[in-house]
Each structure stands twice: as C-alpha cells, then as structure tokens.
C-alpha cells in the first residue's frame, strides 16, 4: 500500500473515531448533568476532555485528508481509485505467506492470552505456547524446540517465582 492510500484510509478511520468520541463525550456530559453528579457546566464536566480530544482528532484527520488529496492532486475519481487500491492490496495481503504467518502467529498468541491463561497454570500453557509457535514457525529442530521451551520456562520460573518471589499468572 502506498503512502497516499495509507494516509487517506487512516484519516477516514480517524474521522469516524473522532466523531464517535465527540458523541460519547456529549453523552457523558448529559449523564454527568443528572443526579448524583449534577455537573451542568461543560467546561468542568467529565465529558469536556473527550469532546476536545474527539474534535482534535476530527480536525487533524481533516487536515491530513485534505493535504493528502491536495498535495497528490487527487480528484473525485482519484479518491475512488485510492479506495479500490486499498481493497486490492487488502485482498493481496491475505494471499501473502508472510502475512498469513503473522496472522496465525498472532492467533496462537491470542489463544494463550484469552483462553489458556485463564484455565491452565502458566508454566504449562507458557511452555505449550512456545512449543507450538516454534513448531509452526519451524524455528529449529524438534528436540531443540522442546529443550529451549522447557529451559526458558524454567529460567522464567526461577527468576520471577524464586528470585523475585512474585506470583506468575
């Protein structure tokens, strides 16, 4: 994806986020005006900063979008071309073996973070995670993977649980 497309997509995403933050800020202001808070003045309301931040994001995103379109002399048709470029590069990315490796690697991390860690002791799920990831990435030979996984988890356990007397997840 070229810089023009990146900046355009980023500014559109940020425009949407900025709008959401402003609306949410107004909702916070309205809620804070009711009991038990009764803060009716905007400048001292908890919604004030989100409104300012949201407006700032909108303003800066507009500057970025206009600059990208003006500097690159992109018209209405050019804008459409940028969007279609984005679609094409998005689809192409999912066919790239490197990107697929990144996605599956991140998915293994997600399984550890959101599922295993809550149910399985850390020293087991941590070792499992290292083994599975190294096997998937074909990091080295199988016996080295097993040895490194056990050794690294042992070192972590010794350092944190024994030396620093902390509690592991």
């Amino acid at each position: 994806m070229d810089n023009k497309t990146k900046d355009t997509i980023f500014s559109i995403l940020m425009l949407a986020l900025g709008a959401y933050v402003v609306i949410e800020g107004i909702n916070i202001f309205k809620k804070a005006a009711q009991p038990p808070y009764r803060i009716t003045e905007l400048s001292i309301s908890p919604g004030f900063l989100p409104i300012i931040v949201g407006s700032g994001i909108i303003l800066l995103s507009l500057i970025l979008l206009v600059r990208t379109l003006v500097v690159n002399k992109v018209g209405f048709t050019g804008f459409g071309k940028i969007m279609s470029n984005f679609g094409i590069s998005f689809v192409r990315a999912f066919k790239d073996p490197g990107v697929i490796k990144m996605i599956i690697g991140a998915a293994i991390m997600a399984v550890l973070t959101f599922i295993l860690i809550d149910h399985v002791p850390f020293w087991i799920c941590g070792t499992l995670y290292v083994i599975v990831t190294m096997f998937y990435l074909r990091a080295t030979s199988w016996w080295k993977i097993l040895l490194l996984s056990v050794l690294s988890m042992g070192a972590i356990y010794l350092l944190f649980q024994v030396a620093f007397k902390t509690i592991l997840p």
């Binding site: 990146k6 809620k31 803060i39 860690i117 990091a139 690294s152």
Partner: protein, 504 residues
Amino acid sequence: MALQYLFNAILTVLTPINFLTLILSTAAGLMMGVLPGLSATMAVALLTGLTYNFPTQSALISLLGVYVGAISGGCQSAILLNIPGTPASAATALDGFPIAKRGEGGRAIFLATTSSCIGTIISVVFVLTLTPLLTSLALKFTSWEFFLLSIFGILICGAITAQGKAVKGWISGLLGILVACIGMDAVDTFPRFSYGNVNMMANIQLIPVMIGLFGFPEIVKSFKGSGKSEVEKLSPFHIKEGIKEVGKNLPAILRSSCIGVGVGIIPGVGEDVGGWLSYWATKNFSKDPESFGKGNVKGICAAEAGNNSCIGGAIIPVLSLAVPGSAPAAVLLAAFLMHGYRPGPLLASESPAFVYQIGIYLMFASIAMWAIALVMSKVTTRVLRANKKILMPIIYLLCVIGAYLINYNMFDIKVMFVFGLVGLLLSYMDVPAAPFLLGVILGPMLDQNLRRALRLSNGSFAPMFARPICIIFLVVIAFMILSQLGVFRAIKAARNKKKSVVGA
C-alpha cells in the same frame, strides 16, 4: 559537615557487602531494562518488597542501583532490537537502531551507556547543590502550567517522531490521551468509556499499553521474516575512540543533562519526556537536523543523557517536597518511607546525611552501571542475536508476565494484547507509537489539571493568559504548530512571490 557526610557515604558504599549489593542490583536493573516490557518502575517496585529485611543503607543502595540500571539498560534493546526496553529509551531507538543496522551496534551502546553515566553524575551535582533552588521553581507551577506542559510534551513528541508528518504524530498523541480517559475520572469519579466493565473502570494501566505498543508489533513482524537477518551486530570498537567521540558530543550531553534534570524536577514528568525533550533540543541545535532519525550519534547521546539525568531530577522533589518527579521515583518515595525516612521539608533536620547518601549512592550506581553495561552488552547481543523465531515467543512470555505483574490482574494481559494490535495497525499506517504512549502517560495529568484549573476559575480560560510561564508555553506551542503545518513557509513563499512581482 557536608564533606563529612559525603566521606561517610563513600565509606558506606565501599564496604564489601554494600559494594556487592550495588553490583548485583545494578546488574539486575540493567537486565530488567534490557528486556522489553520490564520497566524501571516495575524493577524498583519488585525490589522494594525484597529489601524489606535488608539493612537500611544496603536497601537504599540496591534501590538506586536498580533504578539507574533499569533506566540505562533500556537503550541496549532500543539499539539492537528497535524495541525500547523502557519508555525512557524510546528516543534512543530513533538513531540507535539505524546505527546498529549499519553494523555499529557496539559503538552505539558505548556512546549511549557513557552518556547515561555522565547524565546521572551531572544530575547528582544538581541533587547535592541545587535542590532548594530548583524546588522553589517547580513550586511556581500551577494547574495551568501542568496542563500546558502536558500538551507541549505530546506536541514535541508527535512532531519529532512523525518524520515530516507531524499531524499523524499529533493524532497518535490524541489517541493516547483518549486511552488515558478510559475509566473513572480522577476529579468526579465518573466512569468514562468503560461500558460497565469493572476492570476498565479502574483505568487502563500504562505498562500493558507500553508493552503492547512497542513489544507486540516487533514480535508479530518477526514471524514474517527468516528470523535471522534483523538482529543487529555489536561491532568491535576501541574504547579510546569511543571516549574521543563522547568528548566531541560533550556539549550535547551537558545540555541534555541539564534539560533532563529540569524535566525530572517537574512532578509527574518522567524520564521519557526528558529523553524526548533533550533529543528535540539537540536536533534543533544541530547543523544537520535531517540526519537525526537516520543514525546520528548526537541523537543517542542526547536521549540517554537526558533520560538518565532525570533520575537525579526526579529525586530532588522527592527529597524536598515528598512529591515524586516520575513513576519510578514514586515507588522510591514509598521505599524511603518503608525504610523509616520521612522525605519532605523536615528531612534536612531529621536526617541531614540522607541527601548526601543518596547523591553518593547514585554516583556509584552510575559508575557501576557503566562498567557492567559494557561487559553485559556482549551477552545482551548474544541473547538478542539468537534466531528471532526462537527469541520472540519467549519475549512474548516476558511481555505477558510484565503486563501481569503490575496489578496481578489477568485483564492487563488482555489489554497488552489489544494494544499490541493497535501498535501493529499504527506501525502499518506509518503512525509513530511514541506520542500515543506519551498521551497515555500525560493524559491523567492533563485532564486533572485542566479541570481543576477550570473549576477554580469557574470555567474561564482567562487566568491561563495572565500567568507568565503559561504565556511562554502558549507562544512556544503556537509557534510549533504553525511551523509544523507549514504556515511560516507559506508566508515566506508568498512574500518572495510578492517581491518578485514588485521587482518585475
């Protein structure tokens, strides 16, 4: 009397048990700093509990050793891996990594470590001599100044790191402030953006965000490549040449140390801002600012001297006001209290030797750090030189532990993962993550001070324009925004055009 205190402190630190404590704690701090995701705050916090049964002086020596080691150690992973070990060394990565990529990692680490050592020693001079004077200056800051200081820090960081597209850096900073808004607001305890989730109501913790933003994208990206090519080399180099180079960059180091101390004194503004401000100042003073970010050694020297001198700076308000200058200094304050000291205005009469002891321990810690870091860098490189496909899954486990240890809360591990995805997206979109992190750090200070100031002025901004320090901040902020948006360039171009028309 002062000389007597200094001499006694030197004798104390040179006793075999204290000297061994100093070496071990500094080495432990360096290791914590080197490993991405393990921060200086965490290192000092972990050790505080462990020192409960230590003799008081050994405890103080070990705490300061860990503090200095952790802040300095961050530069090694910033240079060799492009992952700052601590937020304080984020600015170091800008020039350190390109230098390491050129195969001069050893040179970069020597310069960074030596600058760190000099920065800390200079900050000791300030701790010992200027404590009362500088504290009185920081006392003049009110809520308006703190509010503007936060904005100033984020704007500078955004402008420096966005490589010509300051707007992207500023958006990143605003996103960080937005994250800082999540949870109960500190003024009215009103829940914002928490969607009824109890964990989110308790605010998003800084450390998991930091680990996610800086650690996660590097880990995931390493899955893509061969796993071997991206590890930078620690080149052989001569210490004599390194010392000569340090001599050449001494003005930048001295200037950055002074900036670092100044930033450190301001309560709540930590080592990371010190590093960034020093880097920014050095870049602006440089004859070739374009070379910054591409491997200019001045950038490393400035960032490291700036963040390390913050250590002494941050301890000054701890000693004189019992107000911490940074997050690790806040933990240090708690440790001082735990060991029976009462930092604040009465400290000088209750424990007159204390300030001198802290100064001397800091100085010895910085010298120990210098020696250990240079020896350790060879081991660090070997560790970091390992196949990334082997190293990175293990580093992710350390990231998980680092995120968890702050509050012993599983939710923080999930936060780290989510912000890792955010960091990955930002990296893909060429948006710098550093302003985002600074926004998260300074957001609470910005929010609380703005609303406190507005509450005191009944919602009016007028008092801000009546304070001299605020006016200086406002002028600098306006100048920075206008220059980054190209307004001055446009005015100059319009003038030149007008002149050429009149001339014709």
